[in-house]
Every structure is written in structure tokens, then in C-alpha cells.
Symmetry: C2
Subunit: 417 residues, 2 copies
């Protein structure tokens, strides 16, 4: 505090550094608390894998194991182990390996519609309960296996990840019939932003530090970026979740829906890609369209926080939860604004970051039991008080804390990266 006062009166540049250091301290402390929470409460020592459904105090309230969340937890542990010194600990490695083994043993199921799919949900002992007709269980399987293989140096596991990636690309770009959705005449193809985003994220995962693999996926990543950019609509004033494959608007609610948190997540995926390619134009598009636009349309001027869904023409969305404030859009917004600031040093982006930071840490973080609440009412009251559930696991919160800490490391080193 003393230091901040001194800095404030002498040197605004240094004051900023102290402010950044304060932020970093908070992200670091929160990350440690969140990792401790999941290490302590989520491990199933009997059957392997992780409990996903944890109450506000960490107690397991349902034993089902969700494959998205199993994969994400394996990925997160592995990434922390590989890239952060203080997490390079045997217990983190062990947790990642146990989760990976559970996934490899149980996630794949035989269905009548194709050679196999990954389940969406498993019983505690690994029996498949449900299979979705989408690609996402498989996506998180790929993320998990690739990141885990990087710390175990298991070549077979890496090959497993790449082979499943091939299957994913086949479903998305060649033939989706293996997903098991009936072909219906009124079910027109939709370019849903989640799909190219997810594939771009996987390409980033698989190609890090691997020139040959990067070459193999070069065209795919270009296709993903092109598909994502098609969601810029209404003369650049809106990001729409669903468009046609040639970038036209779709009719009805499906065509009008906006998901500000998802657009912000796409924003930082594009920023990363643009940074790696040195593509200044794409960086500008990412900031102007995928960060500024969803921030402006998505921020609740009355109660603060980001809405979950909005209709671009101002109709009421049909999703019952449209006006709720969810944790993950705020996680994505923090990463997006801080990354954009670190690449551009545009003060307005730091202002955005601060605004989201203030809302997020004062509303989601639970001082009593640790970890974050996930689901608030429009007014910001906690409506669902569990820490883990069917769609909330060890992923968005720690990924955000981890990435922001890394970005702040970079800023504090004075890197204009």
C-alpha cells in the first residue's frame, strides 16, 4: 500500500507495475487455492478419474463422471505441471496420469452409428451413461491426451490424440454421419462458432513446438480462422453464434443468438493465432470485433457482468438462463482483455480488464470455502452454489488464473511481446 502511494505520486509507469504486481499476486493466490480445492476433493481414489459434482464445501453430491470435464482436468494438471515451476510436483503428475488412464480405459464406446464415439457421461466405475451427437467429448479427449503425453513422453498416447483429431476433422469437414444425428431435410448445415473455435484450439495444442505437425495442420487452422471470421455480421457490429457456411445469417432465434463470453473466447484464440503469425490485421479484427463488440453488447449496464445470451434484434432469447451471469464468460473476458492489452498496450483494454476483474472477483470467488461459484442471477446473487457440476469443472477458472498470471509475468518483465 505504501509502495503504491509512493509510486502514484512519483511515476505513473512504475505505479502501473505495482498495480500489475497486485493483480498477479491475486491471480497466483487464487490459482493455488483452486488447485488445492480440486486436489483435495475431486480425486476418486477407488475407481480413478475425478468426481465432477462438488458442493460449495467440496462434498461430492453426485458420482457421475463427465467426459468433457475429465479431459479438461487432465489437460489442466498436465499444463500446470509442464509450464509452471511451482506445480512441477509428483502429485500433479500422478493426478494427470490417473485421469488419463481412466479416460483411455472408459471414454470410448461402441455405438450403432459408427466405429466409436466418446461418451458424454460415465458412472463412477466407468460405464457409459450417455453419448452426445456432437464432437466435444472427443475434443477434450484430444486436448487431455496430447498435453499429458508431453509430460509423460508417451508416444503412443500422442498418436492416440492425433488419430482422434483425424476422426474429428473427418466428422466436421467430410462426413458427419458417424455422429449419429439423423439426416433431416429441414436441418440445414450450420456454421456454429464452437466448432472452428474448438478445432483451432486443438491445432494450437497439437502443434506447439512441432514444426512438422504445424505444417500438417496449416490449412486446417486457416480454415478455422476463416470460419470464425464469418460470424462477424451486421456491418461488423455483431458476432452471431450461428451462420451459414458461406457466412450468411440464418433465420429465427438460432440465427440471431449472441453469446458474448463465447465471442470473447474466440477473441483470444484469434489473438494467439495472429500473434504467432505476426498478422497485425487479424490482431486488429480480434480486438475490434471479438473483444470490443461483445463487451459493449454483452455488458449489463444496470447490474454489471456479462449476459449469457442475447438476441441481436432485441427479442427476448428463448434460453431460460439468458440473463444469468456465468463464471466462464468472465474468465474468457479476463484472458481476452489482458492478452489484447499485452499485445497492444492500449490503455482502454486495461480499463476493460479492470472492470471485468472487479465484477468477477467480488462476485464469483468464494472466500469461505475457496474456488468460484458458477451461476449468478442477473442481480449478481449466487443461484447455484456448487463448485463443480455437469458443465463446471477444473478448467475455466484455473485456465483463466494461469493464463492471466503468465500474461502478467510477461507484462512485468516489460516484454512488448
Amino acid at each position: 500500500m505504501l509502495q503504491i502511494c509512493r509510486n502514484r505520486s512519483t511515476d505513473s509507469r512504475t505505479m502501473t507495475a505495482a498495480g500489475l504486481e497486485e493483480y498477479r499476486k491475486r491471480f497466483r493466490t487464487e490459482l493455488d487455492q483452486v488447485v488445492d480445492f480440486w486436489l483435495k476433493y475431486s480425486h476418486d481414489k477407488e475407481y480413478g478419474g475425478f468426481f465432477n459434482c462438488l458442493g460449495k464445501d467440496g462434498k461430492v453430491y453426485d458420482e457421475l463422471k463427465y467426459v468433457w470435464l475429465q479431459g479438461r482436468q487432465v489437460w489442466m494438471y498436465s499444463r500446470l505441471y509442464r509450464t509452471m515451476e511451482r506445480y512441477h510436483r509428483p502429485e500433479i503428475l500422478e493426478a494427470a496420469k490417473i485421469g488419463g488412464a481412466f479416460l483411455q480405459k472408459f471414454a470410448r464406446v461402441q455405438t450403432s452409428s459408427g466405429p466409436w464415439k466418446c461418451a458424454f457421461c460415465l458412472t463412477r466405475d466407468g460405464q457409459a451413461v450417455k453419448v452426445q451427437r456432437t464432437i466435444f467429448s472427443e475434443c477434450f479427449y484430444v486436448m487431455a491426451m496430447d498435453e499429458l503425453s508431453r509430460i509423460t513422453h508417451d508416444k503412443e498416447m500422442q498418436a492416440d490424440a492425433e488419430s482422434m483429431m483425424g476422426q474429428l476433422v473427418h466428422w466436421v469437414r467430410i462426413d458427419s454421419s458417424g455422429l449419429g444425428r439423423p439426416q433431416l431435410p429441414g436441418d440445414q448445415p450450420v456454421n456454429s462458432m464452437a466448432v472452428p473455435m474448438m478445432l483451432l484450439c486443438l491445432v494450437d495444442q497439437l502443434t506447439e513446438g512441432r514444426t512438422e505437425v504445424a505444417e500438417k495442420y496449416k490449412e486446417l487452422s486457416e480454415w478455422c480462422v476463416e470460419q470464425i471470421l464469418q460470424h462477424i455480421q451486421r456491418d461488423g457490429k455483431a458476432i452471431l453464434e450461428n451462420v451459414t457456411f458461406d457466412g450468411k445469417e440464418l433465420p429465427g432465434c438460432q440465427g440471431r443468438v449472441q453469446n458474448p463470453g463465447h465471442a470473447l473466447e474466440a477473441g483470444w484464440f484469434l489473438l494467439q493465432y495472429a500473434h504467432a503469425k505476426g498478422d497485425a490485421q487479424l490482431q486488429k479484427t480480434a480486438v475490434d470485433k471479438f473483444i470490443e463488440v461483445p463487451f459493449h453488447t454483452g455488458w449489463d449496464k444496470q447490474h454489471g457482468g456479462l449476459f449469457y445470451f442475447l438476441d441481436v434484434d432485441g427479442h427476448c432469447p428463448t434460453q431460460l438462463e439468458w440473463n444469468m451471469k456465468l463464471w466462464w464468460p468472465h474468465c474468457e473476458a479476463l484472458i481476452a482483455c489482458l492478452m489484447a492489452y499485452s499485445y497492444t498496450r492500449e490503455p482502454m483494454l486495461m480499463d476493460r480488464f479492470k472492470q471485468i476483474y472487479d465484477y468477477t472477483f467480488s462476485h464469483f470467488s468464494d472466500e469461505e470455502h475457496g474456488e468460484w461459484f458458477g451461476y449468478l442471477s442477473r442481480r449478481g446473487e449466487v443461484v447455484l452454489d456448487f463448485k463443480g457440476g455437469p458443465f463446471k469443472g477444473f478448467f475455466h477458472v484455473p485456465r483463466c488464473l494461469y493464463m492471466c498470471e503468465k500474461l502478467l509475468d510477461g507484462l512485468l518483465k516489460g516484454e512488448r511481446s
Copy 2:
């Protein structure tokens, strides 16, 4: 007002009649307004069938046609035409027939998993968009076709309804593989209350005034009642939505979930059945367990209204909308309490009815544009302001108004039915 004051001071019996008359007037006026709303805004004069997605002022905001809602609207028009003199009008008959023709022409789709299914959702011109792996589209098809055939005297249509009923019973009691859900080892069979409730409702529909058909479905209706009663759990202190087929609790959230509105709806289905059979014991069970219990557990003591979902052990439900107040549980509660009162004349049931009536009419009914809002926050603010959407059509509101008007007719006639 003058009359009520006079009654109050002289004769409590007459005052009650005046009170009942006030209620009836309100139900009748609301029903007329609701019918007018859908007649005016929902008819697709170009392609037939009905628009389902109507904004607060009746404007169409999406052209998709949901088969559940198409079927329910056909049923409602037909039932009003058949049983209420003031709706025995050519335009109501015509609307029902046009909706029925649209359904017969477009609802059925061929899928790879079986001979056919009814779609869940159609484009404006009738092309299938989505097929659910459940029985409910088919259920509302049966309801629609049977009721419509009663006013058109179309024997083929009636046979169509009965034939689809046969298919439904086959899926539910013999072999569900035609529904298209993959058979998975962890996906244990669940006695979900919706299924026997829906079949009991259909038996009631198909057998009215038909002794032979009633005989045919006698065993089925007994089975449905038995299946519904298995949801009474925790020494009679809870109605659980999902149990095993031998009436045991299921593990996890699925096993603990309560849906008070659904239990109340089951309550009046059971009351009707018990009344027809003269089964006093079942009537008592319906009142004590399916009306009193969900009312006590489901009523929000802080803000009023019925919660949507609750966990019997007090965990937080995982449904994001758990604490919202939806229109349909309140519709079912009004019918259940008034029907129970009309069969038992138990004053406490009239108190319940009044309590729900006061909340419902002060929160859901829209004085400005007519019809009812469907989705309120826990505090009772309108959160989704449309009058029609993917799950809200011309059904729960008019059915409630219609049934309550009929029940009040009976009470005012002094029938101790």
C-alpha cells in the same frame, strides 16, 4: 362489491357462492382473451399449422413449428369446440382441422432407427428439423388426433390415433430401441414420472364415452397408476421425479430431483382416475401426497410461487432454472387444488387454491397485451417476455382456465360430484 358485502353480513354459504362466481368470471374472461390471442396471432394462413413463437404483443419472432405445441393446440381447439357452447364456432373447428391436417402431413418422419418417429420441430413449410429420442411428440399427436376426430367424426383419424397409441405402448413397455437411443451399460432403466402420467392422460383421452376401448386399456391405466404411485418416497414425505421400475430411489441428482408442478399435475390426473373408479383411497393419496406434499415442499416462503426444481436432500439442483417461477406449474396447481376441493369440499384446499390464484393472476397474466408471461425470476419479475416459445404454446394456460371454469360451473351448480 355491494352484493359481496351484503352476503358477508348475512350468509357465509351465499358469500362463498359469490366468491366462486367472481373466480368463474375471471377464468372465463381470461380464457376468452387467451383464445382470441392465439386465433389472432398464431395461424399460418400460407402453410397451415401454427406459429409457436409469439412475442409479448403476438408478433412472430421465429417461424419454427414445434410438434408438441402443434398437437396441443389442435387438441385445445377441438376440446373447446366440443365441450363449451361459446366456442362451438366454425372458426374454432376450422383452426383445429387445419392444424390436424398439417400434423398428419408433416409430423411423421422416417429415421434409420425404426419405422418412423414424430419430429420434434419442423420448418414453417413442414420439413423436419429435429427428432427427439423420447415419446412426447407422438403423445401429443395422439391427443390431437383423437380429440379432433371426435368433432369431425373421422374414423380413420381416430384409428390413426389408436395405432400410434399402440406404438407408444410398445416403446414404453416392450422395446424402446425404436426411439433411437443407443443402449449403454451405464444407462439404467428409469421410471420417469412423465411417462406413466402421459400414458394415463392418453388413456383418459381415448376412452371417454367408449366402453369397449376403456376395457382394452384397463390394464394399462392400472399399470400407469401403479408406476406413478412408486414416486411417493421418503415415508410419503416426497414425490421424486425419477425412481427405479420397482419403486426404489436412484442415486445422484437424477434420483433426488423434485418437480412440484409435475407432481401437482400427476395429482389431478390421479384424482380424475380415482373419481371415475370411485376409489376413495386413491383420492386420499392423490390429495395427501400429490397435492399437499409438493405444495409444502415447492412453495417459496420468501417470494411466493412454486419453484421449478428442488433436491430432496437440500442440495442445489443442477438445472440453471431451478428457482424460476414458471407459468405451467401454477396452472397445474390451480386445477389440482380446485378439483380436490370440488371432490372433498375440504376448506384447506380452497385456501391453497386462493393462495396460488393470487400469485398466478398478479404475476403471469399480462393486462397490456393479453395472454400470460411464462417465465419469472425467483423474485417474480418477468425474465422472458414472450407469450409463445419452444415449450409454451396454446395449452397449459387455456387448459387451466377451461378446467377451472368447468369445475366452478360444477361447484356453483352445487353438485357434490
